[in-house]
Amino acid sequence: MNLKTDQPSPLPADNQPGQESSPSERPSIYGRHNLPLSISRDELTISIDQSGDTWFYQRECAGDRNEKKLLTPSDTVLINPVEPLNKPKEITSFLMVEFERNLMIEPGVKRKVFVTFPIEIGVFMPSKKGLEVIDIFTLQKQKFTLYGDPRTGVICKYWTSGIHSAEPQTDPLRQGVLRLTVSNAGDHWVELTRAVFNAYGMKLFYSDDMVSMKATMKILGRHMAETDFTNSPLKKDMTNSIELYTARKLAVTVPKFIMELGL
């Protein structure tokens, strides 16, 4: 897929060719890197080495291996979190976050809570026509679920999360932080067990220690809510990710999701 972007370069090159940091002072893997590249984390190794006129890309992530040769004059690569809906197969554009404990909200109340979401990481190569994704991987276990019944429901990527009142500490290679603003516009108390989001609206931001998104959930009735994303970072110094779904979005694509099959 070819992704055109008008966004500025996300980060300055943060590693030098062939340089590898010690585990105690390891910088984030996110951002723009010069080639050749060598990254090693607990269950993740990425290397891009020159072999003649080509680059040789190797990645191993929790037992999953990907190797390819890259024919490009480019000598940089961009690594950033992408919408967590591509692995093991891209079969849905919806993400369901199921809450570990139910959340009850009074009518007329608006509150901010924090939940986590799974991380998938994209490796992009710049080209004359934009950015090309060359690999996507994840360190997280993958699971799918059905929202609704088999006839009218939709398949969703599945994730469970606790509900936090402040930003939880997370490993940015595995989990992101989603700030969810829940508002109950109805006349009744509502009990929430989950939130379903549409990938076409996701806006991911990253820094060295966190990957984040901001979303809203407007409760429209006892069994209906609308979810949407906000295009702003959780903290000031965060960088906007290159998203995959946003680039595919048509003018008619609706980024919001109406949860009408139960909360």
């Binding site: 079969i91 276990k141 059905l146 929202y147 609704g148 088999p150 939709v154 398949i155």
Partner: protein, 275 residues
């Protein structure tokens, strides 16, 4: 060459050349535009919708070219409507099956029980829908064969669309020995399904002792999977269950019979007999 030579009525050679030119331009434009649309929307629109959009554009441009060429050919469009109606009735009577297929095709496109790319069974044929045309529907069978089915047959036959719903269920019967722990076997299978990304969390899988058979304790395993991916999971899961059970010392039972003899039977080992 005299371009003003009258061929019939007011139609001259120049008019005919203009009509040919219009058609040529229309064909080039419609093909080019439909190819451009296919490329531009390939990753943004589903395959069946893309086919409909590109076909609509293709035939739309050709239709406009046909209408635009009527005055050049000395045809009055309003008169054509009446003539077309009469001709339509005549053609309808003369070729009932074609008209039947055509009408069925229109209803199929309206009702949309199948879409391009769906895995379906139509009558005796199973496969993937390759194209839905106005007269016929084509399938690619699982063996890779091309099958063209007239729309009238598609419309009147029973249609099973394997991917019409988001999810579907499949099941296995796993027979274990009576001497094995069925609770342990159920727990192993549950954990195994939990580790499969394509096995849906909801609706939850069902694993229970279904029957006490002649030769085995039969455990039924029912799992839901995304309708488009169920076969991938079905192919992988059963062998994984067998291997996981055997790793824990639980074996798949095979038919056996215990025979009781009324009187005592004297047996000798084969080795003794040979000696």
């Amino acid at each position: 060459m005299n371009f003003n030579k009258v061929i019939y009525g007011d139609v001259t050679t120049l008019d005919l050349l203009a009509v040919i030119l219009i058609f040529l331009v229309a064909v080039i434009l419609s093909k080019g535009f439909s190819i451009y649309l296919r490329r531009a929307l390939k990753e943004k629109v589903s395959k069946d919708r893309l086919q409909i959009i590109s076909k609509t554009v293709y035939y739309g441009i050709l239709g406009v070219a046909v209408i635009a060429s009527f005055p050049l050919l000395g045809i009055n469009p309003s008169g054509l409507l009446v003539a077309g109606g009469i001709v339509g009735i005549i053609i309808g009577f003369a070729s009932q099956s074609i008209v039947g297929n055509l009408i069925s095709g229109v209803f199929l496109m309206m009702e949309r029980p199948i879409k391009i790319g769906n895995s379906v069974r139509i009558g005796e044929y199973s496969g993937m829908v390759e194209d839905i045309r106005i007269i016929s529907t084509s399938l690619r069978t699982w063996d890779g064969l091309y099958v063209r089915i007239p729309n009238e047959k598609v419309f009147t036959d029973s249609i099973t669309n394997y991917v019409a719903h988001a999810a579907r269920r499949f099941s296995y019967v796993v027979g274990i020995r009576y001497s094995d722990d069925a609770d342990k076997a159920i727990s192993i299978i549950k954990n195994l399904i939990e580790d499969q990304p394509l096995a849906l969390t909801n609706p939850p899988p069902q694993i229970f002792v279904d029957s006490l058979g002649d030769n085995a304790v039969n455990i039924i395993v029912r799992t839901w999977a995304p309708a488009r991916e169920w076969y991938t999971l079905r192919m992988e899961l059963l062998w994984k269950i067998k291997k996981a059970l055997e790793l824990e010392g639980i074996e798949i039972a095979f038919p056996q019979r215990t025979v009781w003899f009324a009187s005592e039977i004297h047996t000798k080992e084969i080795g003794d007999t040979q000696n």
